[in-house]
Amino acid sequence: MNLAEGVQLVSFAILAVMMIGSALGVVLFSNIVYSAFLLAGVFVSISGIYLLLNADFVATAQILIYVGAVNVLILFAIMLVNKREDFKPLPNAWVRPTMTAIVSAGLFVLLSTMVLVTPWAYSTESVSSDTTIVLIGQHFFSDFLLPFELASVLLLMAMVGAIILARREFLPDQVITPDKQQQPVLTLPERPRELVGISSDKTSNLDDSRRSE
């Protein structure tokens, strides 16, 4: 084993421990803010593994997008609804985590068996002398042109949708449309379903009185 391989092995071990540790932290911490910060740790470790795989551009993009933008967005969303609520512990609360653990462990065993059993077909193409970024650029504008252009439409609509859903609405006064519609703005026209136990007569009386107003 030469030096380079040794460095690679050690780095992989460090990154793997970091990733699994912080991923466990994300799931197990009850404080959601800690979970969010540890998620950033997971992303950083993944980016390190990309570096080990010679994918430098993907590693940079991972840090730039996931740590720099997505994780910050997650943190903002958490701080936005910074409500501390103490939930009463449910009876038999251990059932759900146990079930989840069993299912996850089963999935892990299945997938790792699959990884070990399958004779993978390694790509025989030699690594080009070009840097990866140039290669990615060439693929973007030849065989992956269609998804590349479609991604711009996707981003446009994500932006439009995000703005329309997240912006504060300046609600027009109901006076503009006097009693032609009883429906409050930005809701479904269907009335919510009646809950079981409320007799239908009572609600329909309410509706009648609302209509006559």
Binding site: I65, A158, I163
Partner: protein, 120 residues
């Protein structure tokens, strides 16, 4: 297979990075007078006394900015390979990138017109 070539600088940089806080903390430990009252334990806020906790509810405006930032961040990542490989790609790629940018300019104008970029 893989050789960690070209990452020596990154490794050195990481080492320096991890040394800096350790050095700073141990240096101040050596230099500063020991002891001190409860004043020393408070957060340094440029001389102003800190009020309340740090975990307060954020304003929704931050969220809007972060949202718009994510989308333009992704766009930048998409355009970066084009810029690097520009000389090899030729005219057609230029036209294709222009279509990409034009669609995203519409997104920018939309965000602008709808007031998503305003701090109000």
């Amino acid at each position: 297979m893989f050789v960690l070539s070209g990452y020596e600088y990154l490794l050195g940089f990481l080492l320096v990075c991890s040394l800096v806080p350790a050095l700073a903390l141990s240096a101040s430990k050596l230099l500063r007078p020991s002891g001190g009252g409860p004043e020393r334990r408070t957060t340094y806020e440029s001389g102003v006394e800190p009020i309340g906790g740090a975990w307060i509810q954020f304003n929704i405006r931050y969220y809007m900015f972060a949202l718009v930032f994510v989308i333009f961040d992704v766009e930048t990542v998409f355009l970066y390979p084009w810029a690097v490989a520009f000389h090899r790609l030729g005219l057609l790629a230029f036209v294709e990138a222009l279509i990409f940018i034009a669609i995203l300019v519409v997104a920018l104008v939309y965000a602008w017109r709808k007031g998503a970029l305003e701090w109000s």
